[in-house]
Amino acid sequence: MPRDRTTRILLGALLVLLGAGPFLPKWAMFMLNVSLSWGTVVLGMMLLMRTGLVSFGQGLYYCLGAYAAGVSYAKLGIGDIAVMLLASTAVTVAVSAVLGLLLAKYRDIFFAMLSLAFSMILFGLLVKTSELGSTDGFGLSVASVAGVPLAEGWDRYAVFASAVVVAFGAALGMQRYLDSHTGRLAGAIRDNELRVEYMGASVRRVIHLNYVISAVLAGLGGGLVGITIGHVDPEMAFWTTSGEFVFIAILSGTGNVLAPFLGATIFETVRSFAYEYSPNTWQLVLGITMLLVIVFLPGGLWSVFTRRRTP
């Protein structure tokens, strides 16, 4: 039995969710899928925030991951969940490895703006690409997972289980990473880049690595959502989507790998119900909540925003 509480909770959640899965009503499974997927995206954002960076463009990789899964189905005839997610990973690694070289040179507002710009570039590209359905996007479905064909009625559970496993793996992996030397450098960089360089470590290298990790997590989340909903569209790359990820990240805080999943679940729940009962005020609720958190709960925020860089 692992010693620390977080790992025990993660393991417990994994077992409970997988076990309870077949008995969950459709709507609950759907909401959990989305919550776990978005939690994965925000987990990546959390890593970036711990490094002192706020990305306003995670939608880029979220959308890329989704479309990678979608294109695998629509253009390559692949209906395997595992292969789709692999495609998501491959695409996001490739793009982020390149873009990261550039973005690692920016901080603060400019990092946020540049990341936003790239996500909007993808949005613009997709909207004008008729082969991919333009603004309508296109649909996808799954028939197997890791080569095992899905029996009748088990496809939904397979997607759910995939989301649970990915989220679990991501959370556990992140926890181990943050506990390692390179993971600890994130907080050091956020606090004082100069000192990190003057001890002999490369700030750019760590930021680049963390950027790629966050991109992959966003891509996995996007792939999972695409598979869950059975549809992908360019809106996933629009800046407001990225904005929602930022909101959840703020709400969750950066204290623990469980936080993003909690925050995403709360967000998803509130949004679904608020949207159903009062579609014209849920953004109002969101905005006010955000302000309250920023003004009164800097405890969740302070660790992100008390940075000191080159004097």
Binding site: L116, A117, M120, I121, F123, G124, K128, T129, F247, L286
Partner: protein, 298 residues
């Protein structure tokens, strides 16, 4: 030859519109160091207000030409109400926090205003076509343009020159420049920085609303225009350099021309061309073209 003229004129028209929209944003950032995401919402409010005021004016049977004046009135009204409300009511509470936190605060305001606007004006598209077609059209060679566009261009020039002269020739302008360059020093010399903030934010809001008011006659005003505009304004302002008036003008021209070229020559990239330019500029000049230089504080 004709196409080049068309691109140029389209570019000028679009640039003028972009300038009016973006200049308030860069002004607010320059003075207050806040990148106001809600700028798009204030633009939308201006559009809605213009529709309401203009529609009322015409419905009352007043001379239709006066509805142009109503556009400006609408913008000023929004500026004078929303501006101080947001600045005094909310921003005061968060001054001093990090830049990125302030962006998130304005993002929250954007969310709030999205719904408040929906609640106030409904979700159905509104329009006020009247003043638009009123002045007829002008011909440039083979090309026909609505005279309204000329009005927009002229107005943007007036705004630009007016702001430039105010900043450089008047006492108030000099005070603003002082705050832009070093807020602490300005305060130390007795400048009421708090009041400068209020005035600046109000003016910036009014300018955003003016952009919306000017656009109202040409589009159907509906929820969602705020989100589209804000990223365009960002692109213009970031390209030109945050806080620079000249930068906003240059950024507007660049974005306007690029988009006009894309629309005519390569429509597929129209949407993403703006952001591609933004990314390209940031790569070459990480702080934009005319960024206000920051003294290094060692």
């Amino acid at each position: 030859m004709n196409q080049i003229a068309a691109i140029l004129i389209d570019g000028i028209i679009y640039s003028s519109w972009l300038f009016v929209i973006a200049v308030g944003l860069t002004l607010i950032y320059g003075v207050m160091k806040i990148l106001n995401v809600a700028h798009g919402s204030l633009y939308a409010l201006g559009a809605y207000a213009a529709t309401a005021f203009g529609g009322y004016w015409i419905a009352q049977g007043h001379p239709p030409l006066g509805s142009y004046g109503m556009l400006v009135v609408a913008a000023v009204a929004v500026g004078l109400t929303a501006g101080p409300l947001i600045e005094r009511g909310l921003l005061r509470l968060v001054y001093g926090k990090e830049e990125v936190v302030l962006v998130l605060v304005t993002y929250a305001v954007f969310l709030i205003l999205e719904d408040l606007t929906k609640l106030a004006f409904g979700v159905d598209p509104l329009s006020i076509p009247q003043p638009y077609g009123l002045l007829g059209s002008i011909e440039v060679g083979d090309l026909i343009y609505p005279t309204y566009s000329l009005v927009v261009v002229l107005l943007s020039v007036v705004v630009g020159i007016g702001l430039a002269m105010t900043l450089n020739r008047t006492r108030h302008g000099k005070i603003l420049q002082a705050v832009i360059h070093d807020r602490e020093m300005a305060a130390a010399t007795g400048i009421n920085v708090s009041r400068v903030y209020l005035v600046t934010f109000t003016i910036g809001t009014a300018l955003a609303a003016l952009g919306g008011a000017l656009t109202a006659p040409t589009i159907s005003v509906q929820p969602g225009i705020a989100a589209e505009v804000i990223v365009l304004a960002f692109a213009v302002v970031v390209i030109g350099g945050l806080g620079s008036l000249g930068g906003a003008a240059l950024g507007a021209v660049i974005v306007g021309m690029v988009r006009a070229w894309a629309v005519h020559k390569w429509p597929e990239v129209e949407l993403f061309s703006v952001y591609a330019v933004m990314a390209a500029v940031l790569v070459m000049r990480p702080k934009g073209l005319f960024a206000v230089p920051e003294a290094r504080k060692i």
